[in-house]
């Protein structure tokens, strides 16, 4: 009896008010805890505005030069956009294949299977080729039907341009995947954002000559910048850009070899330190 009377004396908690501050603080605190331990999340806050500013800032510099032939520039912009999308899709092709396995908690099943991780990479490359063909096919058709722009106006040089960009995309995709396997899902943002780090120095929409000196030096070591310079050369009637493509493929080879080496090192490390079963769960 005394217990009952005691329990009756306990204060009755009221329902949480719509204007209550503490639940809001709880939700904010949950995000702050997340950001306190996550460098990639902090980077993301500053990353996109900075990259957008650089890409559009360099384009503005180019247009301000006053020497720009508008019709040719419009062609170069659309061509650049379509080719850039191929680079982006091929990088995504690799990274997303791995992420899909991580999200579905299936990666470990694949590691146990009698295939090497390199089988998975080459399988992802094939998937990437299919995705690039489909998405770019649609984009090229729409550019032609809506804006009367044909990417095929680049002629035969289109083939090595695409190849140069796809190989760079593969290399970045493999590197990103290696970082995700090494650092876990914290590094997942790289899968979506790493390619855009290269955009300001890829000279997609403006010539390399517009870039400040430091950026020009970095651009030299980015295969895409040589491809896009080559594209502009073709569009301005300067013939087949052997020189640009030569550099693009040479640097591509270095990127690709470096990416495979990094991936191999990450797997070797995982064999020593353990591979998380819960990666993705």
């Amino acid at each position: 009896m005394s217990e009952i009377s005691e329990s009756r004396e306990l204060p009755i908690r009221r329902p949480v008010s719509l204007l209550a501050i503490r639940p809001l603080a709880g939700i904010l605190l949950r995000q702050l805890y997340l950001y306190r331990r996550s460098l990639p999340r902090w980077m993301e806050i500053f990353y996109w505005p900075l990259l957008d500013l650089l890409v559009w800032g360099f384009l503005t510099l180019y247009l301000k030069q006053g020497t720009v032939h508008m019709a040719g520039t419009a062609q170069a912009l659309l061509g650049g956009l379509l080719l850039w999308d191929m680079l982006y899709r091929s990088q995504q092709g690799i990274s997303v294949v791995f992420l899909e396995e991580i999200w579905s908690r299936n990666l470990y099943n694949m590691m146990v299977a009698p295939v090497t991780p390199f089988h998975i990479i080459f399988g992802a490359m094939l998937t990437g080729i299919l995705k690039v063909s489909l998405s770019s096919g649609v984009a090229v058709f729409l550019a032609w039907s809506l804006f009367s722009y044909s990417l095929f106006s680049l002629g035969l040089s289109l083939v090595p341009f695409v190849l140069g960009l796809v190989v760079m995309g593969w290399a970045l995709g493999i590197m990103t995947t290696a970082l995700i396997l090494r650092f876990g899902q914290e590094a997942e943002v790289l899968a979506w954002g790493v390619i855009f780090l290269f955009q300001p120095v890829s000279a997609v929409f403006n010539p390399v000559s517009v870039l400040p000196a430091g950026f020009r030096q970095v651009a030299f070591f980015v295969p895409a910048s040589h491809v896009f310079e080559g594209m502009r050369a073709v569009l301005s009637g300067k013939g087949f850009p052997w020189h640009d493509l030569g550099w693009a493929f040479l640097i591509d080879a270095v990127y690709f070899a470096g990416a495979l080496y990094l991936f191999h090192r990450v797997l070797e490390r995982a064999r020593r330190t353990g591979f998380s079963l819960k990666l993705g769960s």
């Binding site: 899909e100 579905s104 299936n106 470990y108 009698p114 353990g274």
Partner: protein
């Protein structure tokens, strides 16, 4: 048992950090085809580390693992098609149907007649009515059953199962146990098994390996362990053996500290 007959691991040691005790410390074990070995221990005892090493996915600091005479650490690819693994920590892609998932693994394992192999395993695991259903729509028990079906699809000689019935209700767990026992009996499957369900371990295992803090505490059949620890069932054996192991470990640490003071 000769090295060529199954899995033989000797003196496995794995340390992840220099200032912490090893996760696995000097464990030896063997499993032959048609035999069930259960690895039992509390959480963090080193079971998953041990299994990762036996699967060849984690390199031991010292010791050797031979599977059918092949060094697993160095030549995993040579025997990877003869082993398989399932765990409740893993799943299969939710957006694929049961059949599609099994089709993928039949190709990944390079099975000679993938379609027939998938048909057979669907039948064996009573998954035919679920074949066209996406994994995301299955119950936890059905996903666990599919995980084991995937693991047996390649007809492995040695199967590693990490707590396969942990999330299942008693009826679903019993179904899985019966299927596994049938495979062990008819296909001469060697089974390495971890579970916290002592009744299950008792029913399923030919031999049981008790480990605590990475070290082997005892090994034997359920009867032998019950006699050794003067207990009536395996649950009591587990509690008693773990308690003794901890006391022994704490005692050793105390002795070491004591001798240090002197």
């Amino acid at each position: 048992m000769g090295d060529g007959e199954g899995l033989v691991a000797r003196n496995l040691v794995k340390r992840f950090s220099g200032n912490r005790p090893p996760a696995v410390d000097g464990i030896s074990l063997s499993v032959s085809r048609g035999e069930v070995l259960s690895i039992v221990g509390p959480n963090g005892a080193g079971k998953s580390t041990l299994i990762q090493m036996l699967l060849g996915l984690l390199v031991p600091d010292s010791g050797s693992i031979r599977l059918f005479g092949v060094d697993v650490t160095r030549h995993r690819r040579k025997i990877a098609h003869r082993i398989n693994y399932a765990s409740t920590d893993l799943s299969l892609p939710y957006s694929l149907t049961v059949r599609e998932n099994l089709d993928v693994f039949a190709l990944v394992y390079d099975l000679p007649d993938p379609r027939r192999a998938v048909d057979r395993i669907l039948e064996t695991f009573s998954l035919v009515p679920l074949a066209r259903i996406r994994v995301g729509k299955l119950s936890t028990g059905q996903i666990a059953r599919l995980g084991i079906a995937k693991a047996l699809l390649s007809s492995p000689d040695i199967l590693f199962l990490d707590e396969p019935t942990a999330t299942l209700d008693p009826e679903a767990a019993q179904e899985i146990r019966i299927l596994l026992q049938e495979h062990v009996r008819h296909s001469c499957l060697g089974l390495v098994y971890t579970s916290h369900n002592m009744r299950e371990v008792e029913r399923l295992s030919d031999r049981i390996l008790l480990i605590e803090s990475g070290k082997m505490v005892a090994e034997g059949t359920a009867d032998e362990l019950c006699r050794k620890f003067e207990s009536s069932d395996l649950e009591s054996v587990f509690l008693k053996s773990m308690s003794e192991a901890r006391q022994h470990r704490n005692g050793s640490e105390h002795d070491e500290k004591g001798s240090g003071c002197e």
